[in-house]
């Protein structure tokens, strides 16, 4: 009897203990919110993660989380918000350097080439170590734009030898892009219909244009000879239209050709940048 009563008493005590312990479980406590948000973040469910993080940040200042939010926004291609979060980490934070690197990377990803040029001159970026990556991205940005390229020797100073060997290749490709001249295409087509199209490597279109204009011209000529005045003038008009249309089309075709080549170059450069993570060192604290 004595044993039983003791055991029951103990059990009762345990129950009280347990209840006391368990009632503390709160899924919405700050720590639990952070844990849950970390999990969501690693599953790329960024919006939900940010909702939790923002509540956490309203109580606790945490630069790691701000940094993560910025990277998440960038993943979602919401570059503006990403830049804002990164900017808030420029000063008095342990991510000051990383944030600056990521800031430039984000600008480049968002194709804000002019902004890169502007920001590189700001005093906060002209300090020793934090300038390393931004400066590299600044020079890469120059290759994306249409302005003058820097001197090749400048690149050598900034990039590591390994990077330089790649960048140098892009540099010379950019310098010697096989672009077609719009004027040349127009003049060629004016001389012989379709020649401009052949110059821009649209061979089928060039031959067709030549045959088409020639056929219309022949028809006009034949009708003038047979004194069918109306038909003669009609075909003359059509010949003129298609002749000038072909000149116009050749110029357009050269422009498209150039746009494609420039696009191709930019795509290759971007692929390389993604491969080297825009010269930014990788972190291991974001997701395990």
């Amino acid at each position: 009897m004595k044993i039983f009563s003791t055991v029951i008493l103990t059990l009762l005590l345990l129950l009280v203990n347990n209840d006391f312990g368990q009632s503390k479980v709160n899924l919405f406590s700050l720590q639990n919110r952070k844990k849950f948000a970390d999990y969501l973040f690693c599953n790329k469910d960024y919006l939900r993660a940010f909702d939790e993080y923002k509540i956490y940040l309203s109580e606790v200042n945490n630069d790691t989380i701000k940094f993560k939010i910025a990277l998440g926004f960038r993943k979602m291609r919401r570059y503006g918000e990403a830049l804002d979060y990164l900017k808030s980490l420029f000063f008095n934070s342990k991510f000051a350097i990383q944030a600056r690197n990521e800031y430039f990377k984000t600008l480049l990803m968002a194709n804000k080439i002019n902004a890169i040029r502007r920001y590189i001159k700001e005093p906060i970026f002209i300090t020793g170590d934090s300038l390393k990556v931004p400066l590299k991205l600044f020079y890469v940005a120059k290759m994306f734009g249409n302005t003058n390229l820097p001197d090749s020797n400048e690149l050598k100073k900034i990039f590591t030898p390994e990077e330089y060997s790649q960048i140098d290749r892009f540099y010379w490709t950019k310098k010697n892009l096989p672009l077609k001249s719009l004027t040349k295409a127009g003049i060629l087509s004016a001389l012989i219909p379709g020649l401009g199209k052949i110059y821009t490597q649209n061979y089928g279109d060039g031959i067709t244009a030549f045959l088409f204009t020639a056929a219309l011209g022949t028809l006009a000529y034949a009708n003038f000879k047979a004194r069918h005045k109306f038909r003669a003038w009609l075909f003359s008009g059509l010949t003129a239209l298609f002749y000038s249309g072909n000149i116009y089309g050749s110029v357009a075709s050269a422009q498209i050709f150039n746009a494609k080549i420039a696009f191709d170059f930019r795509k290759k450069l971007k692929l390389y940048l993604e491969k080297v993570n825009y010269f930014v060192p990788q972190y291991n604290f974001i997701c395990n």
Partner: protein, 148 residues
């Protein structure tokens, strides 16, 4: 063991669903209907006198001719649409030149697929903004995404 593998395989696919939630969405009404087929709507565009004339011709062309001669154009937009859009985007003269160029390219029997991106319905995508001679309009990002 099988269950574990299955869950793992599924978890890998969940990654895609995460991107759906990169924008907040709301409950949406589900409909059993299918979308009705597109109908050509005849409307006179009277934004300017020149365009009004072109538009009138276009409508007459559709009502009397184009509706009955089958689907012959390999391009999207079709040649007549291209002409109207070109005139609207530029002017009657440049539009005519763009149309002449397009018509020549249409008669080219050896249209290579590397020259134009192919759409789902097999049409060759050839938008007017490529031929306006305005470099800003040559947005290759959209063009190439249609390509691949």
């Amino acid at each position: 063991m099988m269950k574990a593998i299955l869950i793992l395989a599924l978890l890998l696919t969940i990654d895609i669903t995460a991107q759906t939630d990169w924008q907040r969405w709301k409950a949406s009404d589900i409909t059993y209907r299918t979308a009705p087929q597109k109908k050509v709507i005849f409307m006179l565009d009277s934004s300017s006198f020149g365009i009004e004339i072109v538009s009138a011709f276009q409508n007459a062309y559709y009502l009397l001719f184009s509706n009955y001669d089958g689907d012959n154009c390999p391009f999207n937009p079709t040649c007549s649409h291209f002409f109207v859009q070109a005139v609207k985007a530029t002017n009657i003269l440049q539009g005519a030149l763009m149309f002449a160029d397009r018509f020549t390219r249409d008669t080219n029997l050896f249209k290579t697929r590397s020259q134009y991106p192919v759409e789902k319905n097999g049409k060759l995508f050839d938008p007017i903004y490529f031929y306006e001679l305005d470099l800003k309009n040559i947005n290759l990002k959209n063009y190439f995404s249609a390509w691949k």
